[in-house]
Amino acid sequence: MIRFENVGMRYGMGPEVLRDVSFELAPGSFHFLTGPSGAGKTSLLKLMFLAVRPSRGLITMFGQDIATLPRKEMPALRRRIGVVFQEFRLLDHLTTYENVALPLRIQGQPESAWRADVMELLAWVGLGDRIHAKPPTLSGGEKQRAAIARAVVGQPDVLLADEPTGNVDPEMGQRLLRLFVELNRLGTSVLLATHDRSLVEAAGAPELVLKEGGLSIRG
């Protein structure tokens, strides 16, 4: 589903932050992405959610080589990828409901077609009573759940999450992990970038380990 072959990446004329990275994510799989700070986890995720191009190597997403894919076909591909950004990147002027519904709204379907789904999802992530609240008034855990809900509302084939438990206590971290496991059980491939060893051990899923720009697979 997602395939990296000898991918290298550098920012501008700087040193390579990723070197010869090769791996493949199968449909319905669950992986962690670990490694020390600065190892290139966020850069690897950026490549996967099509925010940047690699400097070299081949990336295939859903069977399409992204180097040769016309720019106007990128949005359709991005809609198959749900992303939980490290800083959430919720839009502060929209309510929780509007933030979560955003991926559906940009697809141009009428609101009546998905309003009930969004409400149901919000209830599922425990934000059913916070629909009118705007992000600045949400707690860290609530923001995280809103960001996760926004990432999964379009029923993506793959969910990428950058430090999704970074700002919450261990108990909330475990609750969020159960949420991801449940999503995976429903058919979504999941890749979680994290520092949290306890999370990795609790899930017992395979690990992509990044170290000094190189990638190895554990488990």
Binding site: M1, P27, G28, F49, L50, A51, V52, R53, R71, K72, M74, P75, A76, R78, R79, I81, V83, R89, L91, D92, H93, L94, T95, Y97, E98, A101, L102, P103, R105, I106, Q107, G108, P110, E111, S112, R115, A116, M119, E120, L121, L122, A123, W124, G128, I131, H132, R150, G154, Q155, D157, L186, G187, S189
Partner: protein
């Protein structure tokens, strides 16, 4: 990957009331004009750098632009009016002559004017009126009865079918020795050239203000967009097409441009109305100007429309350029 349509329903409670909404249905029901001015809900934030400060900047520049446009329009109108008044009149000047008595001179001239086609009215200027005209040069009370001063006749002509002035000049001199035609030609040329100079000055100022307004609206729009770069980037990354993002951004800036423009226009109209009451046909550019005509007010509408267009175009070009840099 499993077929997403086959997934079991997510657990959870059904939607509760009142359900939140993007107000799309409400928008559809509003009148076009209202929805142009009142932005109900947008994906773009209405506050911050793209909100009030931007509207204020646009309003201030549109105020100045409308004032200048209004001034140029009224100067243009006034210039046309002066020219029309001058070319619609002339004076017959009857100097005392040893060959004919002054009364006879006047009656001959009046009867000739009465028979000439194209003359609307002819009125002899009384001696006291003539004395008043001379007062600035001779001083009050210095125009004595024995001072030989020329008799003047004010003549109004029909601008649609004016008489042949050259032939009339010859005839006037023939019927009354010492009488001659003053057609204001020299004055007319000077006043017209002065009016044209003022008009060109007004257009130059208008051009300058329009260029500055455009530049400020462009910069303000770009500043507003750069404050919203994060919103644009998030929309892009979650799969919004460039067209969708551009439409949202354009819509947002159309509202801001129109609101600012209309505020500026309203302020300038108020200024013109106050000027016309307070200043008794307020004098602009040191020349008597009859004020803004009713027919000029709709022309001022061009200012907010232009400002909104500039804002929308700038927003579109800027956001499209920004998006092209993104993958």
């Amino acid at each position: 990957m499993a077929d997403t349509s086959q997934r079991p329903a997510r657990p959870g409670r059904p939607g509760r009331d009142p359900a939140p909404t993007f107000h799309d249905e409400e928008k559809a029901g509003r009148s076009r004009l209202v929805s142009l001015l009142v932005e109900t809900r947008s994906i773009m934030p209405s506050g911050g750098a793209t909100g009030l400060p931007l509207i204020l900047a646009i309003a201030a520049m549109c105020f100045l632009a409308s004032l200048t446009l209004g001034a140029a329009l009224s100067v243009g109108h006034a210039a046309a009016e002066w020219t029309g008044q001058l070319s619609g009149a002339f004076t017959v000047e009857i100097k005392p002559s040893p060959e004919m008595k002054p009364d006879k001179q006047l009656s001959e001239v009046m009867s000739l004017l009465g028979q000439t086609n194209g003359i609307v009215s002819a009125r002899p200027v009384t001696r006291s009126e003539t004395a008043k005209l001379l007062e600035p040069w001779l001083g009050k009370g210095n125009v004595t009865d024995d001072l030989p001063i020329p008799q003047l006749v004010d003549v109004t002509i029909d601008p649609a079918s004016p008489p042949d002035l050259a032939a009339l000049a010859i005839n006037v001199a023939a019927v009354a020795p010492g009488a001659l035609l003053d057609t204001h030609r020299q004055w007319q040329a000077e006043i017209i050239s002065a009016a044209h100079a003022v008009l060109w000055l007004a257009y130059a100022v208008l051009g300058l203000v329009a260029a500055t307004t455009t530049a400020i609206v462009v910069f303000a729009t770009r500043a507003g967009l750069s404050a919203n770069r994060d919103v644009v980037e998030v929309l892009h990354l979650i799969g919004a097409r460039d067209r969708f993002i551009a439409r949202e951004v354009q819509h947002h800036f159309l509202h801001l441009g129109l609101r600012g423009g209309i505020a500026g226009l309203a302020l300038s109209v108020l200024t013109f109305v106050v000027l016309s009451f307070a200043g008794d046909n307020g004098a602009l550019f040191l020349m008597p100007v009859t004020g803004l005509q009713l027919t000029h007010y709709p022309i001022l509408l061009a200012v907010p429309i232009a400002s909104a267009l500039v804002a929308v175009l700038t927003a579109r070009i800027t956001v499209m350029r920004e998006l092209e840099h993104m993958l």
